[in-house]
Every structure is written in structure tokens, then in C-alpha cells.
Amino acid sequence: MSPYLAGWRLGLLRTLRPPGDLSVRIGFFAVILLVMSALWGTAIDANGGQLEGYTRSSLLWYVFAAQTAVLGVRPRSVEEIGDEIGGGAIAIQMLRPVSVVGLRMAIDLGEACARMAVAFVAGAALTWLFAGPPPSLSALAMAVPAIALGASANIASSHAFGGVAFWLLDAKSTWFLYQKLVFIPGGMLIPLDLLPRPLEVVCAVLPFATMAYVPGKIASGDANPLLLLWQVGWLAALLALAAGVFAAGERRLQVMGG
């Protein structure tokens, strides 16, 4: 078995086996969907049943997919990468005859797949309950690869940001900044179409939109295959960036002691 596939499998199994953490995440997800349902439902009602083309149902299916894609990724991933680099633990990982960043991303992707699968099933059931059926079943089906691509782009991007610790020896500040970039420019809290036009244009050219906005947009009924292509393009760029940051960082890493 390829080491990367083994890493993916390890991440998947270690997330599924202790059910406590997973059940907390699902409970957390349910609360978010309940709150967002109340917030956006009230907002849509107050605006005559539509907001920039979104109906109550399409907006809540947007929230479901955007949140599933983001919550699948370990929230403090950037900070943990920074801690491992700053603390020198990364040096042990460099002894293995595999790419450090490749194996790390494979494990993270395994974990994310487990979380997203459970969140997708539970979240879709809850959203159906709160908002009724999705605007389009084919769009919902297309949201599955979009969620997976969004989470993959998020993982690659987290590693690129976390890799800053090779130079700063800490990634706490990067983590906070990164999280906020996914929240608003990424479209997790509010669809980009609802932002003021100049801000929408800026956010749309950043990679963060592929992590939450695109899965949400597709699940809201816009089954445009070009959106998936947009994600694939940014994913390739972010993977290259993460690999480049780690390659450069590993060359300059100095660890004292054993």
C-alpha cells in the first residue's frame, strides 16, 4: 500500500473510532444549522422571500454545503503544523522516505473524509427538515465532489500558511488570520453574492472562495461544472504552493538537540 494511501486510511479510521469527538462535531453542526436557519430564514422573510436570487431553501442548502466543507477540516490545523515546526517535531517526520507535506495532507484528508461523510448525511437530513428538499437533486449530487475539493483546497492552503512557521517558528497568528479569510472572503458566513460589489469581486479572485462559497453555490441549485473547474485550478495551485513552502522550509530547518 502506498504510504500516502496508508496515511489517508489512518486519518479516516482514527477519526471514526473514538465516537465522542465526532458526535460533538455533529452536535455543533446541528446547532449551527439551527441558528443559520433562523437567521437567514428571518432575513429572507424580511426581504420579500428573496435575497439576490437566493430563496430561503436555496440559502439554507448553501449554508449546509459551505459549513460541511469547512467543518470537515481540522480547525486548528495551521496552528498544529506551526507547533510541530516550531517545536522541532517536524524533524522526525523528515526522517521518513516520503514527502512530509504529502503524508500530512493525506492524513488530514482521511480525517476530513470521515467528518464530511458523517456531516453530509446528518446535515442534509437536518437541512431537509428545516428548509425542505434541495432546489435540485443533481446540484446536490454535484455538491459532493465540490465539498471534497473545497476541503482539499483548505487542507493544502492550511499547510502553505502553517509552513510560515519554518521562518517565524510559530503559526498562531497565521491561524487566526487564515480562519477569518475562510469565514468572510471564503463565503462561509455570508454568500459572496450578498457582499457589496467591490468586495465581492476581490473575494472572488482569492482562493478561499473555492473552500466554502463554491460548494454552497452549487448546493443552492447552481450546478455549473465550471465551478468545479475553478476549484480544481486553485487546488493544483495550492498544492504546489504547500509543496514549495515545505521544500524551502525543510532546506533551512535547523533543530537543536535530539
Binding site: 473514538p18 460533538v24 452536535g27 446547532v31 428571518t42 424580511a46 497568528s173 468572510i184 457589496p196
Partner: protein, 255 residues
Amino acid sequence: MTVVTSTLRASLADAFANRGSFWFQVAVMVVNDGTWIVFWVLFFHQVGTLRGWGTQDVIVLFTILLTSAGAALGLLANSRRIGHLAAAGELDETLVLPVGPLSHILTSRIDPANMGDLMFGPVLFAVAGNPTPERAAVFVLGSVAGSVVLVGFLVACGALTLFVGGRGEQADLGFNAILIFASYPLDLFGGATKVLLFTAVPAAFVTGLPAQLVRSFNPAHAALLVAMAAFFAGLGWATFQLGLRHYSSGSIWTR
């Protein structure tokens, strides 16, 4: 000086030991809070008012949340860690001391990041909360009562681990639920959810009711808030004390 104030002073000194790190974490949390303000401004810019709530009303609610959560999670940082401490057998070091265990645990750790919330909340209220002497007094009352409710609820959730086991997941779920619900205007919710917010997940008493009191003071509602703060303080204390009877030592010092 009482044991509680001595412990709190020692915890503060510990947190301040690395001043650069302390202020950095405070600054990062302020930036984090600023993101939420940006979100609300963008949201209301798009949707107008919601059931009588506008940007300024939500900012007042947010200042109460920052202040009460800052006190509960910054000054009394262990309030959300009771379940984890119990699961890991880490209550031993407190139980051997001749002090009240709950007060000692609560005051023995300070979280610098959440201290940023505690500092930023009142400043934001002064700048954007249209402060008058009356509104400021109600803001203080609401924030204090909200933090007592929050601490009592978190301690009760954490103490559940002592009864049912696990790794502290009950506290994590309670923590996430109450903070999310407390971040949004109470009037958004109706039916069973609203009942939930006044009972099992008392977010209504952390921000919703205090924010309504700041907008329009009502003595009966203020009395209810104070009574509920006393109730949740008692609930947290009683659940913890009863749960201690089920606690098994982690034998951490002999490992």
C-alpha cells in the same frame, strides 16, 4: 486576602509573565472580534433590520457577549475545562488542598486570548453602544449576570463527565451550543428553540435578556435575570459537588 483572590492574583501574574505573548494574544482576539463586527455590518447592509434589530442593537448584544464570555473564559478559564480535568484525573492536585475545590479550580488559570474579549467588550460598548449612565449601568449588570450564568452552565456541563464518563465531550457540546446561540439576537428564534434558550441551553440569560434590558429596561426582567444567575451558579456548584463523589483519582503523581 482570601484564598480565591490570592489564587486569582497568582494566575494573573502567571499569565503576565510573558507580557509580549499576553498582549499578542489579546490583540489577535480583538482582530477576531473585529471580523464578527464586519460580518454584522455587511449582513445588515444587505438585509436591513430584522424583527426590530439593527446593526447597533447587535453590536450591543455582541459587547455583552464579549464581556461575559471574556470574564467566564478569560478570568475563570477552567470553567470550560472541568470535564477534561475530571476525565484526565487532574482534579487530584486541587482536592489535596485545604480550599474549596471549585473556586480554586476556576481561579487557577487565566486565558490571555479571552482576556482580549473582556477588555474589548466594554471599549466597544463605550464607542458604539450609545452609552448613557443608565445604559452603562444595565450593561454592567447584564454582563455580570451573563457571566455568572455562563460559568454555572459550563461547570454543570463539565461536571456531567463525573457522572456519565467520557472525555469531556458534554462540556464541549454545551460550550459550543451556548456561545453560538448567545451570538445571535433572541428574537430570531421561536417555538421550541426559544424555550430551549431559556432552559437547557440558557443563552437567553447570557446575552439576549441583558441586551433587551439595555435597549429598554424592565425591573421585572432584571429581577428574573439576577434570579437565574443565582440559580445557575447554584446548579453548577451542586452538580460539581455531587459529581465529586463519583470522581476517581488519576494518580497522576505516581505514574
